[in-house]
């Protein structure tokens, strides 16, 4: 028998053995033994957030920027329930996390003890998997298995709930060898016959399109490289979901921009008119498809996904290939080259695309005194692109404008809450990304409403000397809510005005940040430059036109061909079916 160590020490030693460098957390009664074990080592850095939700978003930001598993440590009861939004966010966006929660001691479970909640019950359906560990000897194997599950297959959050007595009791810990799960073995390699069929379909297509998504980012940087090779080989246009931005260079001539509700006209029209759609690591989300019965009616569809349940969930496809999208693209390229394929003549296809592009659907005209939000983001991009920044966002209009007007050229540079749409995501995610890349320029493009949902994290950035930048697109409205109220509810702006806003500059200064205000178009470049010139964290309050709408837009329940390109387009009143959609 080797020496026995406490459960808390097993937790910390397992994290060290798993290569964990950073843990985001907040202490409390039910995790004190683990915090004590953390105190007595110097391999793992603990980042103290100001709210548990932010711990999870910070871990997400860290995971998305670095490709590693993000780790969270919180206490029982409110610690766990505060983490639920972040856990759900990670599930929706397939982000690998391990969330360790303290629990009341085993003999008190079920007695409504102080700070008790049914953490495994609450997180069962918002995590990829979860555990309640009742035996100290199981802690080591469970932690190692949890990391394997979090990062294998379709990544996701795994919750480990550890009662306090289990942290105190002793057991033997051995570093395990290769970690696997007895039954959970996701399929990585795609079926070769299906891949060959897919390549032949792609080679024969006259109007092909590559519809790419976050699966390519999750697969690792090699997958983004393979996508570039595949696009070059087949000559097809490439569009991307919100989650996939960066997997293909924004300024590449084959790139059509983001698709979907606030995507480009050319991307949506090309999706509608293509004869072959190759979906790579995307999931036909409702933001992307618009009205389902009008979605790309004339195309044959190939879907590559690591998660079998993504196939035929909302859109029927002709060929489904289960596997890691990077591995499948690699095999597709091998087959393409082995068969000596040349792309079919796509001249008329590219002519059609050129016509749609000419509509300049992301275009805007900056005139008058009010700064257009699109202009602000465009200049932010121009002035920072040489530094290859990591951009995070909150949720709303500013997020869509950032997706439209900020160009991404590499994966893992764009961190946004896509599936769950969590306001308050951006600042903690930026903190996590900055910890992964201390020398990088990390900017949270925010809205004045969203930023207030986790504003307390200004303190975290100061404590750890993280030079995070926040760029608030301040239009004094929950802009996307206001836009929908304008379009669907007779411009009755019910509770969407951001009243009683703080003086953001003073607020920043109160926390030890630098504050900068941009009042209008004339201050814009100087304000951005002041932000870049300051070595520490900077909050920029960028005042923009209050009532600008985010266009183009596919209204809820409408087809790709029914895009509103600008405010000048006639918009009829929405019917009740459309109003019922989100």
């Amino acid at each position: 028998m080797g020496t026995e160590i406490t459960g808390a020490e097993i937790v910390v030693q397992s994290l060290i053995d798993l290569g964990v460098e950073v843990v985001f957390g907040y202490p409390g009664g039910a995790v004190l033994p683990i915090y004590d074990a953390l105190f007595q080592q110097n391999r793992i850095r603990h980042i103290l957030v100001r709210h548990e939700q932010a711990a999870v978003h910070a871990a997400e930001g860290y995971a998305r920027a670095s490709g590693k598993v993000g780790v969270v440590l919180v206490t029982s009861g409110p610690g766990a329930t505060n983490a639920v939004t972040g856990i759900t966010d990670a599930l929706m966006d397939s982000i690998p996390l391990v969330v360790i929660t303290g629990q009341v001691p085993t003999h008190l479970i079920g007695t409504d003890a102080f700070q008790e909640c049914d953490t495994v019950g609450i997180t069962r359906h918002c995590s990829k998997h979860n555990y309640l560990v009742k035996d100290t000897a199981r802690l080591g194997p469970v932690l190692h298995e949890a990391f394997y599950i979090a990062r294998s297959g379709r990544p996701g959050p795994v919750v480990i709930d550890i009662p306090k007595d289990v942290q105190i009791f002793k057991a033997r810990y051995d570093k395990p060898g290769v970690i696997a799960h007895k039954t959970y073995k996701p399929q990585v390699k795609g079926d070769l016959a299906s891949i060959e069929a897919a390549v032949d379909m792609l080679a024969a297509a006259e109007r092909p399109i590559l519809y790419t998504g976050g699966g390519i980012i999750n697969s690792g940087p090699v997958a983004s490289q393979l996508l570039r090779e595949l696009a070059k080989a087949c000559g097809a246009p490439v569009t991307s979901t919100l989650m996939g931005l960066g997997c293909f260079p924004a300024e590449h001539p084959q790139f059509l921009g983001m698709l979907g509700m606030h995507g480009s006209y050319e991307a949506n029209m090309a999706m509608n008119q293509c004869d072959l759609m190759l979906c790579l690591g995307a999931r036909f989300d409702d933001r992307v498809t618009g009205r389902l019965d009008a979605f790309s009616p004339g195309s044959r569809k190939i879907h590559v996904d690591i998660d079998r349940s993504s196939f035929n969930k909302t859109v029927r496809v002709d060929l489904a290939i289960q596997g890691d999208v990077g591995s499948v693209m690699e095999d597709m390229l091998k087959v393409w080259r082995a068969r000596g394929h040349r792309a079919a003549d796509q001249t008329s296809w590219w002519n059609a695309i050129a016509g749609w592009r000419a509509r300049n659907s992301f275009g805007f005209e900056q005139k008058g005194e009010a700064l257009l939000p699109q202009k602000a983001i465009q200049r932010l991009y121009e002035l920072t692109k040489a530094k290859k920044p990591i951009i995070t966002t909150e949720v709303g209009q500013h997020q869509m404008w950032a997706a439209q007007h900020f160009g991404f050229h590499d994966p893992n540079k764009w961190l946004t809450s896509g599936g769950l749409g969590t306001m308050g995501y951006g600042l903690p995610a930026a903190i996590g990304a900055q910890l992964a890349y201390p020398g990088a320029l990390v900017i949270d493009i925010a809205g004045e409403a969203s930023i207030q949902m986790n504003i307390q994290e200004l303190g975290t950035a100061i404590q750890y000397r993280l030079p995070v930048k926040i760029f608030i697109i301040n239009n004094e409205y929950m802009g996307m809510v206001r836009q929908w109220q304008e379009l669907n509810h007779g411009s009755r702006y019910s509770e969407s005005y951001s009243d009683a806003l703080p003086d953001f500059v003073k607020l920043a200064e109160a926390y030890g940040w630098k504050g900068v205000v941009i009042e209008g178009p004339d201050d814009l470049d100087a304000g951005i430059q002041a932000m870049l010139d300051h070595p520490g964290p900077v909050l920029v309050d960028c005042r923009v036109a209050k009532l600008a709408n985010c266009f183009p837009m596919i209204p809820s329940g409408a087809a790709h061909t029914d895009m509103i390109l600008s405010a000048a387009d006639e918009v009829g009143p929405a019917d009740d079916d459309a109003k019922a959609l989100v």
């Binding site: 019950g121 359906h125 990829k128 998997h129 297959g153 799960h181 039954t183 349940s309 035929n312 969930k313």
Partner: protein
């Protein structure tokens, strides 16, 4: 795809016999709006490591496919088999049926039970509890007949099912 006709499917799900696994399965059905007609679960392995869950569900074929895929990606699920698609299989359920009455009704209840090979497992001077097993239809029929002779209450197991032939699924 919502407008396709609904089909009844019997699924066998082999899962780790661990705390919370049933809640995971049932929660998946309720969270995604799938139907459960019946559900049975018991430990079926020598080492108590594996439980077998039998779920009878209904929905259009694409929804059944989704149910299979969603179940299959749960970490503690070893295997999901759609026995309805698999082919020949046996489905049985058992019911305990309590009937009260005297005189002719009591005699008639016994006679009907005999026809259905239902066994009295509890008898008093004014009541019987019958144990009946067979297909869902047979159990339904028996219960319907018992209504006319003094049905009091029913407890049913729900369907258990297994493929025919020598092979394990």
């Amino acid at each position: 795809m919502k407008h396709l006709p609904s089909e009844r499917h019997t699924l066998s799900i082999l899962v780790d016999n661990e705390a919370g696994v049933l809640a995971r399965i049932v929660g998946l059905f309720s969270a995604r709006g799938y139907n459960i007609e019946s559900l049975t679960v018991a430990d079926v392995s020598d080492d108590h490591a594996v439980s077998r869950i039998t779920v009878v569900t209904n929905g259009p074929p694409p929804v059944i496919d989704q149910i299979m895929a969603q179940l299959d990606r749960l970490v503690p699920v070893h295997k999901v088999i759609d026995l309805t698609d698999w082919g020949p299989h046996v489905e049985r359920e058992m019911a305990l049926v309590k009937v009260a009455g005297t005189g002719d009704k009591r005699v008639e209840a016994l006679r009907l039970a005999d026809i259905f090979r239902a066994r009295p497992v509890d008898t008093s001077t004014t009541s019987f509890v019958f144990e009946v097993s067979g297909s869902t239809e047979k159990v339904n029929q028996f219960i319907a007949l018992m209504r006319e002779v003094g049905l009091v209450e029913v407890a049913r197991t729900g369907v258990v099912a297994i493929a025919r032939g020598a092979e394990a699924v």
